[in-house]
Subunit: 164 residues, 8 copies
């Protein structure tokens, strides 16, 4: 899975073990030919680098950051607090509490610092990428077209399979 030289989307995650979830975001971005980069950036174990990542994201040309984390998931909110780019958060399913802790840690941000939060787990990772594509599509007609085709195809697949 190669990465783009001029990525528009940064996909980051708090731990290598989050990759099993977050790869669904990357695969979706690839299917739309959206250039992205992916990194492990840990709020708790690499705070300095997280700060650097967040504060330089915009000047490096990123348009959107997708951040996944589990448990006391601080990555999405802390990145959002250090950039003015839109940040999308993916709650990774946690061992004990099945991601309820991840979800609340990401979504319950105080007024002033927004994180657009998606569902717990794989569906959330996939949808974070799709929301990024929707955002980019608001100013990129070609992407918009592909997005509509994706949605239609998705509809058709259900319709074809509607008979049980």
């Amino acid at each position: 899975m190669s990465q783009a030289t001029n990525p528009l989307v940064g996909v980051i995650m708090g731990s290598k073990s989050d990759w099993e979830t977050m790869r669904h975001a990357c695969e979706m971005l690839e299917s739309f030919d959206v250039p992205y980069e992916k990194r492990v950036v840990s709020a708790h174990r690499t705070p300095a680098w997280m700060n650097e990542y967040a504060t330089t994201a915009q000047e490096r040309g990123l348009k959107i950051i997708i951040a996944g984390a589990g448990g006391a998931a601080h990555l999405p909110g802390m990145v959002a607090s250090q950039t003015t780019l839109p940040v999308l958060g993916v709650p990774v399913k946690s061992r004990a509490l099945s991601g309820l802790d991840s979800l609340l840690s990401i979504v319950q941000m105080p007024g002033g610092i927004p994180v657009g939060t998606l569902a717990i787990g794989d569906a959330g990772a996939k949808n974070a990428a799709l929301l990024a594509v929707r955002i980019l599509g608001t100013t990129d007609p070609a992407l918009q077209t592909r997005l509509q085709a994706f949605q239609e195809e998705q509809t058709n697949k259900v319709l074809e399979d509607s008979e049980l």
Copy 2:
């Protein structure tokens, strides 16, 4: 509170009683001079109009839809399923379950249809608007500048008040 003739953001809510929450989104958009429109659009009581609202949003020039709802909150997800615009969801605090039902109904979308979900209640409404501004700011340098000023001001206000 006037509304724009060429709104970029559509702020919709499932019931008039959600206005007390959702006005925080509108006030934030106004403070950034982002043109917006606001409407009560009920997934359950006006499904046909919701469908029309969602399917025509893009051609009417909207770039982002902010949807707030409480309880079994279907509005954000159902609008997202009928547009390719980015949809941001605000879980309104519900009477019995304090918005936990609203949150789960909005955020736990299946893979394929994303809703960027914000916090329960006022903070979420405010942040939905800020996330919309961040999205618009990725292609609008003037808005980007204002956004950075907002963030700095917010920082300064805390710093000034840091002594207790």
Copy 3:
């Protein structure tokens, strides 16, 4: 598993993966010789068809709709908002939150649009069918008789097995 030509009950579900749960509804309907149809109808991926299904259900002769879905489960509520037929909702067990999200998304409907909600998972699917049979039985003496026989048989089976 054949389907009826003049179905009285429509069994729909948001995704093919819900069939493992919803087939318990169909099997129960069959055991009562209640004609039914079954379809995958996705609120989020096939909203137009869902609207069509809901709005035409009555004229096609359906008396009751059973709708199962998981996660942010909007199908039962959205169908209920576009028909005046009784709609029964089955919360399918979800991966992360075990169906608590499905349950709250289905049952916490606002005043005005009712969904009669059953238990999470297989028991709920089975009971949705039984509730449909009870409803039909209020005006169908033959069905009523069979229903009473079912209940007695169920009682007898427990009584016979009561010794451990």
Copy 4:
């Protein structure tokens, strides 16, 4: 609030204090001119009468039973186990756990005995009545017509008030 001589719907509740919630069911039934009766029937304090109520409901001409209760809410399920009429359950908001206990006690019935469960509190009471009307409306064209008028009126009220 008078009661019908030949009631079609029995509205029962576990305690007099549930009346503040359950009167919304009665008011809705009245607005549709559906004859009903209302009683306090406590699963725990009047089990014998509950049994009598449940087992004689059908022969007394009732078509549907609406049962509301809070906390460890056993009334709807216990009535459902002693009749073959459709039983609709309303979880009354409880003091400590806001009705989450009532909801789970009512909705999580085992396979074999269905209770169609509505939302916690007033909305649930209102919707239990509406679901009863929908059920009766499947075989009563006049009621069906009124139900459609109700739904349209409800839609129109939102549309008229859509401007904020």
Copy 5:
């Protein structure tokens, strides 16, 4: 596993599948030589027999009833409402909600009808039996002695194994 001719404790459960949990209660009673009987008594599928069981328990010589059930667990509360014997409830672990529904359905009884509730699952079954023995022990010195021996032995087993 034989049953006593003059049982002091009645161990009942809502379904045969609860036996895997409830056998821990029976084994504990046996280890104390407390005569007991065990039965499947379903609140929902055999309400008439449950009523008979509850109302005749005292005259048959039972001193305590232990009732286990899962999901919308009505058995303990309904038995308690039809006897003046002490009733102890065991929440059986349920499939979707891990017994949280069972627990709340059993413990949240309204003022007037008590159910002494134990932990979810095996530990609860074991402890229901122990609580029954404690109750019987208040008037049976021999049992009291055995109970103290049990507790000491339990302590000693931990102390011996305290080194890791």
Copy 6:
């Protein structure tokens, strides 16, 4: 509210602020003329006295201990671990989590040390007393008679008030 010289029931609570809840237990015991004592005994602030209270309860003639506590409620379980008397636990409603923490801290005891747990709050306090009366009633025919009268009266009060 006087206390008995030879109390059969010890009503203890973790803090003076629990009295508002626990007085319902005392009032109920008084209405049955059951001699009792009441004390503040804090597991955390007076552990030595708690140990003394628990270990001497039986020799002082107590037959049952009722213990109420809130939050991380350790009193019932810790007393149960130091006596072989039956211990009944009352989860007092806590400020932040409404007694869910109290309930789980009391009811989820490991196998070996039982606490018969009642509902959160006032109903639980009242029922702890009633369960104590039921226990005492198994060997006290006079109390048994009064208990049956209580239950009948309770039934009659509902029946008289059944009309709304």
Copy 7:
């Protein structure tokens, strides 16, 4: 309320509104004559200052940091990730979810970065200070003595008030 020139404990909180909770920590520290400082330090609104605060805390002579925050409460964990001082977290009660979100956001830290978490709200703030005093007391005999006196006094106060 004056602050020490050479503080040993830093009491920080995410927002001015947290002061109502966190002042209980400061009052407790004062009652033990432990020098402390107090500041509003927002993880989300003043991330740069938070980083500075955390990274310089040790060289400034602080021994312990107490951090209180509500909702998606990232302050304690983010400070802990940038210091090797012990960090104690206080979950402030949040509006919608009563501090359950605050608690999970603070306590569920991944292995590698510890936050010693106290109870939600006032009790937690008071106890964070007491835990700090206990930590300092392990190497400060005078403080240890005062701590034991505090604990005894606390015990005595309960004992004196034990009669109700």
Copy 8:
């Protein structure tokens, strides 16, 4: 795994089955060469020994107690109530409720008796040890140095692995 002759940290757990979790604490302490002891000490099955352990811990030279327990987890709080040493609590994942009960039983202590609580399960055990090391490190420069090396190494490991 040998144990120190002059341990500074006491690692205790409520049951032998907690060792699978608590060994992560011991391994971490060993990696820092912090002398410790480890024991099974059950609040419920060995209350007398727990009292002895807690009251003599300080005179035996312990500086910190780490206590792990599951379900109605009373060990950390009860030990904290009988010592003035800092007590750190580890909620062990429980069978039915995944450690939510353990967490609430440990963290929700009343004002006056603090328990510094860590995450549910292995991460919490590891972090309890790390927090103990941080506490000891505030007065032990050599340990402080090792702690900083640990944190740097942890950072480096993530940085090296940051590419996916």
